[in-house]
Symmetry: C2
Subunit: 354 residues, 2 copies
């Protein structure tokens, strides 16, 4: 059987998302013409080139069982992206992030709409309210897209528990992440646990298992995908940590050193903290969470983190986790072509620049 | 067939919600012990005596078709309450409301947790982040509760489109409501349209139609329930408008005159504005949206609205809409006992003090 390549899968997911979103946008416009900015903003956000990691993993999980390519299954997998869209929109509100993918974050877009039109009340409050509601709408749409994939209700019902578990783990992980910032701790074990929850489970393990459940065969692949997904998710998150401090803003679409300004308690920061001199440590502590850091201060923190050896150790950890994850794929039950794609995805997820 | 009374239905819904929420709270605690405040807050919020209008209407829609009482159908109907829980939690964040049902709003509860524990960062920001995530969780749980009601997947799939439409209309209605405040218009037609969307469709028509779809028979009841639900929903919202300005805070659990401070553009306000002298109008305009109004200023606005005749006209409108809605129930296809319950619900919804 000839399987579609990853690029082809991504494009097919993009086109399913576009079709679904267009139909929903029409529904909004039919309710009231004042909803046009909501319909436009969600269409732009959803169709504007995310990496689609979660739907791709889900569809690879499906294909990994040897199930034949299916447009319906692909559509069900694409529904995971809408959960992610909600998470991103709400995350930007919670973090107060101004940009997403080099464009204004959604709450900023509606803040601007408010200001440009000279509306009454506070522009910022309007932007936040709109972004909360648009995230809710995306989350609600995720169920709708899953339910209307065209698969039998029995197929959908079988995969639904994984879908719900994934969402609960995502929101739990987000809360723990916010809490970790508030606890201002640099506990390495906790940071790694949260990384495992947010990225390992939510972004990789659960999507793959969701795909297996959709196919309805070879449930033994569920364990294999835990062994592949959890270390890879952690490696993915570690790459995020590194990009959040050292990333090239031209590639990430976020200001350089964004995580430092936001005071994120990442594994990278926990490693750096444990390895620093007291002087460096106090410089780092006063920089973490200071929204007004300038570029030279960010550069200073980058130097300190690099000099501590934390960056190198983080890279080493990523490599170890990647190898652990690749070893899990050497399993006779898994379709060979899909195993190759999963290798490709693993390398891409851990070596990315954005 | 002897049908359960409304109080009995409400209690059964309460107990389904309690059981579901307890199981989910355990799941959260199993993920991480730091999630205990999330589990507790959601349990308190969900089980703390809402009116359960939407699940009750949904179950009455189901019973109205002559379908036999069913615990599974009741559970599916109770899922609508979790959508409402999300809407309330997020609404309080968007409005900056401090209280809900005489207790601190959820974002305030987490703001306090942050302050009490001396966490790092801004308490307010932490509270908002937690409330956004807890609302997301409740919304996600609504699908889970529907999907796990025990009904066949065919039954669920048949009712699902109404569930999704209801949620989209809710979020659209919320956005239009926020926008209406920003437009600072006093357009009576638009206010009535939004009232129809938010309360008519979301709170009454769609829940009833959802119940009919669950039962899978007598689809002609769908139209009857539109004729009953839409005017009743508008009457319900008008009662809300009146309570928002004239309500007894000991009964509503919200500060007196809350809608004035929030600058809500309600039908009551649109009526008042159209009937006032220029002097009264400018007093009203400067009070609307002023969060610092004291009790005597609130009392002055109450007097102005009353003197304008808007209060009396609003009461008259409620009565007309109530009668219109009751007339729709005189239909041979509808189970007689259920028709009586729906009369009881209509009167309760439009005469309530809270």
């Amino acid at each position: 059987m000839v399987l579609p390549g990853i690029t082809q899968i991504r494009e097919a997911i993009d086109s399913e998302l576009l079709e679904f979103t267009r139909a929903r946008a029409e529904q909004l416009n039919a309710i009231d013409s004042h909803l046009a900015p909501v319909a436009d903003a969600l269409t732009d956000f959803i169709t504007d080139g995310g990496k689609r990691f979660r739907p791709i993993f889900a569809y690879l999980g499906y294909l990994g069982t040897g199930a034949a390519p299916s447009e319906k299954a692909l559509r069900a997998c694409a529904a995971l992206e809408l959960v992610h869209v909600c998470a991103l929109i709400h995350d930007d509100v919670m973090d107060g992030s101004d940009t997403r993918r080099k464009k204004p974050a959604l709450h900023k877009r509606f803040e601007k709409l408010h200001r440009t039109n000279g509306y009454a009340g506070e522009s910022e409050k309007f932007g936040v309210a709109a972004a909360i509601l648009l995230g809710d709408l995306a989350l609600s749409w995720s169920d709708e897209m899953l339910s209307e994939s065209g698969l039998t209700s029995a197929d959908t019902q079988r995969a639904a528990p994984l879908f719900y578990e994934m969402r609960a783990e995502l929101m739990a992980g987000q809360y723990l992440d916010v809490l970790e910032g508030a606890l201002a701790s640099s506990d390495l074990d906790r940071s790694r646990k949260i990384a495992r929850l947010k990225s390992g489970k939510y972004s990789i393990e659960r999507p793959l298992q969701f795909g297996v459940a959709l196919a309805g065969k070879f449930p033994e692949l569920q364990n294999l995908f835990s062994d592949y997904g959890l270390p890879l998710g952690e490696a993915f998150q570690l790459r995020d940590d590194i990009l959040g401090v050292f990333g090239d803003s031209a590639l990430t679409g976020k200001p350089a050193g964004d995580d430092i300004r936001e005071g994120k308690r990442t594994v990278l920061m926990a490693l750096a903290t444990s390895k620093m001199s007291d002087t460096s440590h106090s410089i780092l502590q006063s920089a973490l969470g200071n929204p007004n850091l300038d570029n030279s201060q960010v550069a200073q923190i980058q130097e300190l983190v690099k000099d501590s050896g934390a960056l190198a150790e983080c890279e080493k950890l990523i490599e170890q986790l990647l190898q652990e994850s690749l070893r899990a794929l050497e399993h006779p039950a898994l379709d060979t072509s899909v195993a190759n794609y999963l290798r490709e995805m693993a390398v891409a997820a851990t070596n990315r620049k954005s």
